[in-house]
């Protein structure tokens, strides 16, 4: 398999919250059309990494390029114009808007809503079609997550940043969500996914990186990482001795 064209390159970024150094020189790349997983324990800096890519945080040191163009320092509301769509941790739907209005907001960066996109999203998430007039705040957790992802798709993403899409969802729904992420990927959308659910994420991902207290400590293809003892011990809950 040939190397995919590079879409995103993160070089040596440091991100601080006041005196706390949450990222201490993180570097990685994401190729066009890939699914890349970002793993790590709580507080490792996964969310911080994604927020920095989507422009919600600025790196103190280092650079980020998207298609070779420097994007660190560009504010979040402009970055979406390049096709970087971020679905943040914890299903941030607009609770007092209908499902339909939420999806329309997803296309805010365009002057008008593309009805083909809407149709595609509703095909991907039939449950959203059934609940199109319902207030988003009254959807179940899984439905809200679907809506958050669907809303991001309305923005015609080139790079989709997903932060723990499976958090708090029942196994069946988790499997569904991952299946949908795979489908989205096959339509040409590059995905950078943060997950606690390492087994699922690595099965889906072409490659993965493991963060530990603000540094990347491990990288490899999904298959390599799945087989790695350290990953198995730390994230898959297996005893190393037993394997």
């Amino acid at each position: 398999m040939s190397e995919p064209r590079e879409l995103l390159r993160v070089t040596d970024i440091e991100v601080r919250y006041g005196a706390i150094r949450a990222l201490k020189g993180v570097s990685f790349t994401v190729g066009e059309g890939e699914v890349v997983a970002l793993l790590g324990a709580n507080g490792a800096g996964k969310t911080t990494t994604q927020k920095t890519i989507s422009g919600m945080l600025r790196p103190a040191v280092g650079s980020i390029t998207f298609e070779g163009r420097r994007i660190d320092g560009i504010p979040a509301h402009e970055l979406i114009g390049l096709g970087i769509c971020h679905v943040p941790e914890g299903r941030h739907v607009f609770p007092r808007m209908t499902v339909h209005e939420n999806l329309e907001m997803g296309a805010f960066r365009f002057k008008r809503v593309d009805s083909a996109d809407l149709e595609r999203v509703l095909e991907l998430f039939p449950r959203l079609r059934e609940r199109i007039k319902q207030q988003a705040g009254t959807l179940s957790g899984g439905e809200q997550q679907m809506l958050a992802i669907g809303r991001a798709l309305m923005g015609k993403p080139r790079l989709l940043l997903l932060d723990e899409p499976s958090m708090g969802l029942a196994p069946l729904i988790v499997a569904q969500i991952f299946e949908i992420v795979r489908e989205i990927n096959t339509t040409g959308v590059t995905v950078l996914v943060v997950e606690q659910n390492a087994a699922q994420a690595l099965t889906l991902a072409d490659r993965g990186y493991v963060l530990e207290t603000g540094e990347i400590v491990l990288e490899g293809t999904g298959r390599e990482l799945l087989a790695d003892d350290r990953i198995r011990a730390a994230y898959l809950g297996e005893e190393i001795a037993a394997s």
Binding site: M56, F94, P95, R96, M97, M105, F108, R109, R151
Partner: protein
């Protein structure tokens, strides 16, 4: 009984004007988490502008509204850009109290210089006309004021619910972070939102000037009433502000006719105290900020 019903009619008609002022204030809170203590001063500024347009050019205060709303919209945008935007977001809510109070004092000072501090009123030829319907007196000005307020609130509703920009405002109110990630420029929404809040103050100001005599210090009384209304309705909820205005105006009108007009002035503050004691989030402040 007759006096009571007459009081209720008056209360409902008055509620329209207060609803308009308060909806602007609660909108500003919803978007920016800013309690705008200058809203009363902006209403009075709107009243002075209507007064001036009437006395200098003979423009009817109702017809002056398109002019005064545009003028106050610009004032609102400037206040946001010059005074509020520089505040850091983590302590913006607290500092904004000081800043908007300073803006109120600044506006009061400017108005005192231009129009002096003596009472003004806008005396149109129809100021004292009234209709009698089933034995109840309905002042024409109040009826027009009420209808105009409904119309303005209707426009605000359509703007918020039926336009792309309105959707962006509501999105920012409900989840500013997600709105930004979808491309909404929060600074622009804030500026236009503040401008809209000020514009509602201008529309209400024209009407206020028709209904009551006013001077540059009238805003103190007004802002305390407005705060009672928006707190009762639930800060940030436009629907709540309308209901709050209705509840408070009607109850103070009932108190005025059943007990005494002196006590009616107190109704606002008694309602405010009760709300703060019993339900500090207000009527529609439950799951965050209600109706918007």
């Amino acid at each position: 009984m007759h006096a009571l019903i007459q009081g209720i009619i008056l209360g409902i008609l008055t509620a329209g004007v207060y609803a308009l002022m308060a909806s602007g204030q609660t909108l500003i809170f919803g978007i920016m988490k800013v309690v705008n203590l200058a809203q009363g001063a902006m209403v009075i500024l709107g009243a002075y502008l209507a007064f001036q347009l009437f006395t200098s050019f003979g423009i009817d205060p109702f017809l002056a509204i398109p002019i005064t709303t545009v003028a106050l919209f610009v004032v609102g945008v400037l206040v946001q850009l010059l005074f509020l935007r520089p505040l850091r977001s983590d302590d913006r809510s607290e500092l904004s109290l000081l800043v908007t109070f300073a803006v109120a004092l600044l506006l009061e000072g400017i108005m005192s210089v231009i129009w002096s501090t003596s009472d003004r009123s806008i005396n149109t030829h129809y100021a004292n006309s009234s209709w009698t319907v089933f034995g109840y007196q309905i002042t024409l000005v109040r009826l027009w004021a009420f209808l105009l307020s409904l119309f303005a609130l209707g426009l605000l509703y359509l703007l918020l619910n039926r336009t792309r920009f309105g959707r962006a405002i509501r999105a920012s109110v409900q989840n500013p972070e997600s709105a930004t990630l979808l491309g909404v420029q929060s600074e622009r929404v804030s500026a236009i939102g503040f401008g809209l809040g000020a514009a509602t103050a201008a529309a209400a100001g024209s009407v206020y000037g028709l209904l009551y005599p006013f001077n540059s210090g009238s805003h103190y009384d007004l802002i305390s009433r407005l705060l009672s209304i928006v707190i009762l309705g639930g800060l940030g909820s436009v629907g709540g502000a309308v209901i709050g205005a209705l509840v408070i105006s009607v109850s103070s009108a009932i108190v005025a006719s059943a007990i005494s007009p002196i006590w009616s002035e107190m109704t606002f503050f008694i309602v405010l105290l009760l709300v703060l004691l019993v339900r500090p989030r207000g009527l529609f402040g439950t799951a965050a900020r209600g109706a918007i």
